[in-house]
């Protein structure tokens, strides 16, 4: 059985905003019954705000919960704000989704985008791309986008987010090529959100590669104790531990380096052993 968060279960058992908004001015239908999940989203936008939103879903518990969550997230919000919602935001709202179920949140994001475009009267430029996964009808554009927005690195991750490659598996090589292509791009179009695990890993790597050698040169050392949100807790060792200038070193050198190479909002704090 899947490990769902209490919030997913709660939204599944008591879904909010089921049905169709009668005088909707934004309608979207995404997915298909053959693929195992489908979502119809109807929204009513008034004075630049989403006044009402309702959904109908054919799908598993996490598909229903994702759609329910999406309607809760957008109701009453200005359309400009609503447009920025990503699939990760939907998953975060639910306290996370099992990785194999991330495609449920992507389905929500796709429906939202299409409904807003419908409201604006723009026919969402059909992701003209080439079908890569024939089993689930997923195009190269959709795969590229999922890879870019969620910082995906493996075929398995792409399958979890888009379903592409989850059937006959013949397209796995093509998916690998797309991943390589996106990751080779010089500047990522949108900076991917940094997961905690990735953050900790990058901090450790930066300490090891960029910081420790300089400190060791002066007979000092630094140890990573913990990372809580953007707070990087460290302990100093060797000469650093008794050096009066160590606070300056932490701020001007260690913190600056970590902000430059890992994440701009990191704050380094020293903890006493």
């Amino acid at each position: 059985m899947w490990e769902y968060t209490d919030k997913v279960k709660e939204h599944f058992l008591n879904p909010r905003n089921v049905g169709e908004v009668e005088d909707a001015n934004g309608v979207a239908e995404v997915g298909s019954m053959a693929c195992g999940d489908a979502l119809k989203l109807t929204i009513k936008v008034e004075d630049g705000k989403v006044k009402d939103a309702k959904f109908q879903t054919f799908g598993c518990a996490s598909a229903i919960a994702s759609a329910s969550a999406l309607t809760e997230m957008i109701k009453g919000k200005p359309i400009e704000e609503v447009e920025k919602i990503t699939n990760q935001d939907i998953a975060d709202f639910l306290g996370g989704l099992p990785k194999e179920k991330m495609h449920c949140s992507v389905l929500g994001r796709q429906a939202l985008e299409k409904a807003v475009a419908d409201y604006r009267g723009i026919a969402l430029k059909e992701e003209e791309g080439r079908i890569i996964c024939e089993c689930f009808g997923v195009t190269d554009r959709e795969i590229e986008r999922a890879v870019r927005e969620n910082n995906l690195a493996t075929v398995e991750e792409v399958t979890n987010y888009t379903k592409a490659g989850g059937g006959c598996e013949k397209c796995h090589d093509a998916i690998r090529e797309i991943i390589a292509g996106v990751r080779a791009e010089a500047t990522p179009v949108s900076r991917p959100k940094l997961s905690n695990i990735r953050k900790i890993k990058m901090i450790e790597e930066t300490l090891e590669r960029e910081i420790r050698p300089s400190l060791k040169h002066d007979g000092g050392d630094i140890e990573l104790i913990d990372v809580i949100g953007n707070r990087v807790l460290v302990a100093t060792r060797g000469t650093c531990a008794v050096c009066k200038a160590s606070e300056q070193t932490l701020k001007n050198f260690v913190e600056a380096k970590l902000r430059e190479l890992v994440w701009p909002e990191l704050v380094v704090e020293e903890v006493t052993p």
Binding site: V18, A34, G36, C60, I64
Partner: protein
Amino acid sequence: MKTIYLDNNATTRTAPEVLEAITPYFHVYYGNPSSAHTFGGKVARKIQEARERVAALLEAEPEEIIFTSCGTESDNTAVLSALETRSDRRHIVTSRVEHPAVRSLCTHLTGKGYRVTEIPVDGQGHLDMERYQQSLTPDTALVTLMWANNETGVLFPVEKAARMAHERGILFHTDAVQVVGKIPIRMGESAVDMLSLSGHKLHAPKGVGVLYVRKGNTFSPLMIGGHQERGRRGGTENTPGIIGLGKACELAALRMDEENTRVKTLRDKLENGLISSVPNSRVNGDRTDRLPNTSNISFEFVEGEAILLMMDEFGICASSGSACTSGSLQPSHVLRAMGVPFTMAHGSIRFSLSIYNTEEEIDFVLDKVPAVIERLRGMSPYWKAGARACAAS
């Protein structure tokens, strides 16, 4: 909350009589049956007794019974032994609807230079016997076909298929994991060479299985080690498991009638009740040529995992052939092989009963499940449109 367990093709409750019989073999008679002392020798005698009980249920000889750790090990041993002893042949015949224990192994062997032919089934789950006959070649080492399908309960004509294989000098193995204890098996007059069974499917504990190998057949072990099982399966015996399986086989022989009368009646009541009270529902697989305890029903326009989780709120346990429950993204390979439309396959639920189910439980399920389906259909964008289309056609 009371648990209503209708998932007996996944695993069964260990029978209280079995539990009672095996408990002393953990902490009182814990000796190793291979030991020279009387303390271990006592356990060896109990294992021999279990072997006789298993053989009795299968109408086989005790020396034809090899204890293993599970159904998968039995299947793997059978297939690999056949290929080893018929090393001049490189072809395997199987079906499209096998359990992963056989199916994944065959896929694995395809990458090792073997040819595998998967015989299709029709919409009722019946094996295409014409294709089967054509598939048997002088290069075929082994046929491996399940006796009953775990998802639909549909039975394959294993005896007939085994005789056809024998006429061509081909070994025949059957995965009988779902069948043992439910329908009579008479190995004495059978053409089957090897048969797998699993303890936990017939009220013995998990972790014990059997491979039947017909006397006189050459055999090549999978587990190589000590002289246990007369050198055919190395490794210290799971003594409580084996003794439990012996007891379970003894009970199964006594209860087989009940499986085919009372349990079958409950299954039919559940099935008929659900398909008559839930519109756009249907039974998957042949309804007559089938195990007495299994019912696979599709509820159109809703998704299986959602049904399971809502039933779970009432303590009702079952399985689904939907994509979301399988961990893959496609619905059950069995239903796809049968040509069940995706709209139906995604909403399929397997109910599998045992002698421990009661009529009250079935009434409870009949009271709750139609409302679950209705509730989910109320959320489904396809329900109204789909139901209209069906009414019009």
